[in-house]
Subunit: 151 residues, 2 copies
Amino acid sequence: MRIEDEIKQPTFRNVFQKAYINLAFTANWLQMQAAQTFKNYDLTLPQFNVLRILRGQHPNPATVNLIIERMLDKTSNASRIVDKLVAKGWVTRTQCEHDRRTVDVLITEEGLNLLKRIDECEQTLNAHMGMQHLSESEAEQLNQILDKIRG
Amino acid sequence: MRIEDEIKQPTFRNVFQKAYINLAFTANWLQMQAAQTFKNYDLTLPQFNVLRILRGQHPNPATVNLIIERMLDKTSNASRIVDKLVAKGWVTRTQCEHDRRTVDVLITEEGLNLLKRIDECEQTLNAHMGMQHLSESEAEQLNQILDKIRG
DNA sequence: ATACATTTAATGTTACAACATATTTTAATT
DNA sequence: AATTAAAATATGTTGTAACATTAAATGTAT
């Protein structure tokens, strides 16, 4: 569906404004879909992203700082997201020995199982991340353009 | 800057996952920039978007429903956003005569002046909406790909 | 060694998003 | 006409984002 119809705005000032609005709208659209899916697993989107970062580190722990570095939304509150994950038993948090300012955040077996379960149930989603309608070369083009936007 | 470096993740499962993450990251990146700019005008991003919708209707009023239709984030709380804009004097809200369930939301002169002021001060921003690094044809490509993602 | 600066994480606070529910008015059904 | 359904907006509630501040540990300089 064309962005003009999605937000019922027939014209834009120029193609750049249209691209900007289209980008914001589409990203939001994808995010809503993903959030809806993860609600079935009692997970918010930021929580899911943190879990994936921790799986990427496993079996090594991650510090809160490392999590922030790898998060999409840098301003988000990593410490409190970890709180939630600890409360749900998907993550452990222990003070680091070498640098007692930092903290070792480690995904648990249950956390890994949860991610595995999500992977299996949402195979299509995970294979294409909501990009089913794109060819590989289109996805590559998109990556190039997005990198270019950020300069 | 490549997305790999932005979030310090050297590889992705496939080009689709990479495009998905890139899209989320870039949209968030643009949003943060815009939010920062609008803070100078005591405006949040949703408030600014509603103001622009109302300018698009001017001199006709808009209902809350029309605002929701045209908003990028449909789940957002249009009624309360209008509250804020009324409190700041940039918008008026009066009960509609023909259908007393609905409400006429109208941008004020001050509201129009605010937008004009923003337009003038942020000329570059507004001309390209943060897409300075894109050619016209790239912006068009981007629009096509984004429309395709949403099916 | 002491004093000062920096780093890391946690916490306090405010505003807003998300979701559900209520209220008022209009439309539809019998 | 009365009853019920639907529509439009407002409001209540909960959780979280955004931002600032604090607290503790480490690094650095004199």
